[in-house]
Subunit: 301 residues, 4 copies
């Protein structure tokens, strides 16, 4: 592999770990945006980087100029103006970053909003949204599904083995979560709308539930995992659930559960977002690395 | 379910079994195109139908008129002129069938060629190709994959358990075959071209082989299953295989193996086509029934 | 099934749930030993029993006399004198229980010590230790294994999927834990001493590690689960582990890890005991019920 | 590993393959008992051995003297007098073999009868029956189970996927066959007598059938695999089966099926014996090698 230079810019534990992982592959990696990060703290990420590496003594410009790739955080920004950098004491403005980037450099990050994309265009910076990459989305479904299992194990007083578990949706997370539940011995019901998905669900020996038949299955479920980003667990359906049924909503905002109604019914709902970075930051960093390499491979950089 | 009337027209054992299955659900089913079928023969399909039902004493017109659905064979025809009816002594012309069909009737069959589709248009007959239905294609991948396993078991002098098995392609058959091989304990390598497929393959714990890395894995394989309808096992790649490696080509014509070269190299190649009807005609009939019902459900017939 | 009468005596949440489960099957169940249990509390066990049932207003004698079976707690006692009854304000002496039991009555409980067994003999009471039943031990391995997975998920910053996990021992917990890890996609190494166990481990497609080869695998492990009740992770072996490796010891006292040495090495060790009652009390109660019924079936009671 | 010398004596394809496998590990191996074996024949075993190795030009004595281990066939003999040597034109008398063996030499073979064992004692020859080794029995269950699947696939007109399959007995073959059926998507019922086996069956998510409940499940089965060496499928039970149900009897003589009654009922029965040598001779040879090495390791030879 060609030896390349990277600058990791801001982000959370995943960015720190990513630094180590890319260095281990023999590349040169700068890191910036961690001046308030306490390397002595017990957070489990083994950060080999020296304190002086973490952004205190560097100018943004010097650390970006000349590198092949700048890797921003996932998500890139929370305000469309500054880089998402929870471990940095000062603000890092996105346009300060773009200003110093040249035409041959690549800017990668997660959730690059249309506003940021527009800014990049203005500054003539080439950006790629890592989270738009299909392989990244597939890989992220693994820690998401494991995190969902962990929550279910923590919240339920029965084993997943031999419980009745319903997964709503058969997309990326639904597929992997269904596989894991089934293989742990749960009676795994998967809801889908398309006949072809029902065929796939049968082929994997899960129990298919066509959306039209959903309501007759709801009363028997011990846990329902929603992966559909639409109001699928509305009042009418929540009403059918057993009062001890646990609901784990994995759908991004606005979620797929009528939370108020669920509360009124006394149902326990766990809305679990951004699981990969929370339950498995090291694995998540590895997936970012792999996807970054794929992008570079494809670009022939 | 609404009680409906069907006419099964021509076809092989699957059509006979389909007749029984639809009748068991309480519908009325005519069958035509089996006048030379020997009900006494030992073919394992339990045909409940009486000899007189099988098409000798009926006029085509009387048996089609008034029914809701006509189900032709899979494939519909081998010559674009007559219905594929291996158990019938006379020819059944497709235009004779279309001639007597009315506007409110539905004609289902497999592989309706553009020529037949054109004919249907001329006669104003509404046709649907069952094999174009995604759920049918997915379901058919199950007997295809099992049939491939059966061939591998028959031809190999080692167990699938702990053998090195490579599946080329991660489409419908690749996915299901990969699952089966892995779960039987084969070291299951799956070749794919897209990074997202590689991610899926990892998520299922199979061993991903990016197409670029294919050749370095080939020498260690005990069996290679091809599912890609393109010349993927060409001379160069065949040359890399161990002489005892078995090749099972599941790709439809023209196949994905350079058969002549393989023969010259002394490699054993098994080109296995149309497995569902051969290895599991009863299951295949059930899938045709399910897909037919899905079509009727969607049409609101 | 014959309608029988039971008295549940002391114990924890499992005993409460057991009461409900046996009642649901149509039997008569008394319960005693929960006078300080707050039914209003949010502990998730749906206790249908009325407050007055829980032992305040009853005499021990009246509640035991005439019932077919008395089911004590698991474990039966912590001091060999009184029934283990954490939710009761007064002491329940074992000899007070045995005194009022007749020859035709059966006393079931977990971990009936030799001292208690001797007492039972003195009072001519027929006892069976539920935890000595092989089926109970097998079933309890399910929540034990799930609890171990939950701890691993909580403590690790990587996914179980694709991690290197070692299970020491291939007994009941080792078998079920190995299956679960493998099916979640962990690279599952299982250590065993007997060649026949190695053969079983191969047959399930886990990676066998003969005890003699253990040390060369240790440095690569992300998590080690010990199920062997002997000092298997001694100083010499702990030294081989990576500093981020998590150790989960499932072996009952005195455990299988040199805890002090592990601490000195900075290794994270989690000694997880009595998981079934902690992680899945309702499932555990169901297993007690099933085993109780099996015992009665065998006795022809 | 210490370099050792072996003589392979008689046997079938497995013995030929065993010769190659042990040579590949760097040991010296003589082979005797294949003088009529046609190396040019297309039997798929790649026999590297030269024709002159196969026993024509050697004296039994010279080929045995001085070697560490003599490996006879599985089974050792069919008549208790001569070595089982289907590819040899002359008889090899067991006592001629034992006569020339010294005290420090080891004789391994399969099914060493009490008569042969007695003879060995007379000649002061140390023998070990490979088939009595637990790991060999476990490993052999793998090709046995695969062979049973192959037969089922060949004989049935439905897929194993989603069929109703019953395995009688939960010993070595029952466990591995159950795992394979379940993972291929069969509705896998396993019959057992012991409550602890029922618990194991549940833990693996197969459907347990206590022997007492067997008869109510029989009418729904598509295939029954018997592994129990006792008359478990007697007239009364055969009567309950559907006429299309396939029976595969894996139990050694006298089998576990009332064959005459089954024939009278028109049931298809396949009595499948000695599957490992038939369906996977190379794998079987590898297992013999592994077990041989284990024996030598244990003996410290």
């Amino acid at each position: 592999m060609v030896k390349r230079t990277f600058t990791i810019l801001g982000g959370d534990l995943r960015s720190l770990k990513l630094t180590d992982l890319i260095r281990e592959d023999g590349h040169i990696v700068n890191i910036f945006g961690f001046d308030s990060y306490d390397t002595a703290s017990e957070i489990g990420i083994s950060i080999e980087s020296q304190k002086q590496d973490l952004g205190e003594n560097h100018e943004l410009e010097s650390i970006i100029q000349g590198v092949d790739v700048v890797i921003g955080p996932l998500p890139c920004s929370n305000d469309n103006e500054t880089i998402n950098a929870p471990f940095h004491s000062k603000k890092i403005y996105i346009n300060d970053v773009f200003k110093v980037m040249g035409k041959s450099q690549l800017f990668l990050a997660g959730k690059i909003s249309s506003k940021i994309a527009h800014l990049a265009e203005v500054y003539n910076v080439y950006t790629i949204d890592i989270l738009n990459r299909e392989e990244m989305a597939v890989l992220n479904a693994i820690p998401t599904a494991e995190g969902a299992l962990q929550i279910a194990m923590e919240e339920m007083q029965i084993t997943l083995h031999d419980c009745n578990a319903l997964v709503m949706g058969f997309g990326r997370v639904g597929k992997i979560l269904g596989k894991m539940l089934h293989s742990l011995g749960a009676n795994t019901f998967i809801e889908a709308r398309k006949y072809s998905d029902i065929a796939w669900i049968k082929s994997y020996s899960y129990k298919p539930v066509l959306i039209n038949d959903l309501e007759k299955h709801l009363p028997y479920m011990d846990v329902v995992f929603n992966t559909v980003p639409a109001m699928v667990l509305d009042e009418k359906r929540l009403d059918k659930l057993h009062k001890n049924c646990l609901i784990i909503d994995l759908a991004s905002k606005p979620g797929g559960v009528d939370f108020e109604k669920a509360k009124a019914l006394g149902l326990k709902v766990n809305w679990a977002l951004s699981l990969p970075g929370k339950v498995a930051p090291i694995t998540a960093a590895k997936f970012i690395k792999d996807t970054t390499y794929n992008i570079l491979e494809e670009l022939g950089v």
